[in-house]
C-alpha cells in the first residue's frame, strides 16, 4: 500500500509539469523576449557589454 501512494503522486505531478510546459508556451515570454532584444540590439548598435555601466557618454567624472 505505501509505495502506491507516491507513485500516484509522481504521476499526477508529471502530468501537471507537462501541462505547465504547454501552458507557459502559449503566453508571450516577456522576459525572454527582452533578453533576446537586448542581445540583438547590442550587436546591431555594437554596444560592448562592459561599457554598459559607463554608457551615456558622461563628459567627465564629477569634480
Amino acid at each position: 500500500m505505501p509505495p502506491r501512494f507516491p507513485l500516484i503522486g509522481i504521476a499526477a505531478w508529471a502530468a501537471l509539469m507537462l501541462a505547465a510546459c504547454v501552458t507557459i508556451n502559449i503566453y508571450f515570454p516577456a522576459a525572454a523576449a527582452e533578453k533576446a532584444a537586448d542581445r540583438i540590439i547590442e550587436e546591431v548598435w555594437q554596444i560592448r557589454k562592459g561599457e554598459e555601466g559607463a554608457q551615456g557618454d558622461k563628459p567627465a567624472a564629477p569634480n
Binding site: 509505495p3 507516491p6 507513485l7 509522481i10 505531478w13 508529471a14 509539469m17 505547465a20 510546459c21 507557459i24 508556451n25 508571450f28 515570454p29 516577456a30 525572454a32 523576449a33 527582452e34 533578453k35 533576446a36 532584444a37 537586448d38 542581445r39 540583438i40 540590439i41 547590442e42 550587436e43 546591431v44 548598435w45 555594437q46 554596444i47 554608457q55 551615456g56 557618454d57
Partner: protein, 141 residues
C-alpha cells in the same frame, strides 16, 4: 527496496525534465540564418544612421521603428539618403520582428516582440538621442 530505488530515479528524471522545460522557456530562438542576415544588414546601416541619431534628425518611434523627426537637422543634399535609410531600417526591423516570431513557432507574437523591441531600443539608446514617448511626443534621452 527496489521500488523505492525506482521512485528515486523517477523523481530525479522528473526534476531534470522540469528543469529542461524551464530552460527551453528561458530563451527565445534568435539564431536563424534569416535573423542573422537582418542583424548584419542593420549593423551595417547603423554606421550611417548613428550620425543622424546623434544630431536628433532621426529618432526612435514608440512602435519599434525609426523616423525622420527633424528634417532641418539634415543638409538638403543628405535628405534623400536619410529618408531611404529610415525606410530601409524600418523594413528590416519589421522583418526582424516577424522572423523572431516565426522562428519560435508563434507568428502571433510579432506585435509583442515589436513592443518589446520598442522599449529596448530606447533603453539601449545613447543619451542625446530622441525617442517617442507613449503619447507620441519626441523626448531627448
Amino acid at each position: 527496496m527496489k521500488r523505492s530505488g525506482f521512485i528515486r530515479w523517477a523523481l530525479i528524471w522528473l526534476v531534470l525534465t522540469a528543469a529542461d522545460g524551464a530552460l527551453a522557456q528561458a530563451n527565445l530562438e534568435i539564431n536563424t540564418p534569416a535573423i542573422a542576415a537582418l542583424k548584419a544588414s542593420m549593423q551595417q546601416r547603423h554606421a550611417q544612421l548613428a550620425g543622424f541619431y546623434a544630431r536628433g534628425a532621426v529618432g526612435l518611434t514608440r512602435d519599434g521603428g525609426i523616423a525622420l523627426r527633424d528634417a532641418s537637422a539634415v543638409q538638403l543634399a543628405q535628405r534623400q539618403l536619410a529618408n531611404s535609410l529610415v525606410a530601409a531600417e524600418n523594413q528590416d526591423r519589421a522583418a526582424l520582428y516577424r522572423e523572431i516570431a516565426r522562428a519560435n513557432s508563434h507568428p502571433e507574437w510579432e506585435n509583442d516582440i515589436r513592443a518589446t523591441f520598442a522599449q529596448r531600443w530606447i533603453g539601449n539608446a545613447r543619451s542625446g538621442w530622441y525617442y517617442q514617448n507613449a503619447a507620441g511626443a519626441w523626448v531627448r534621452k
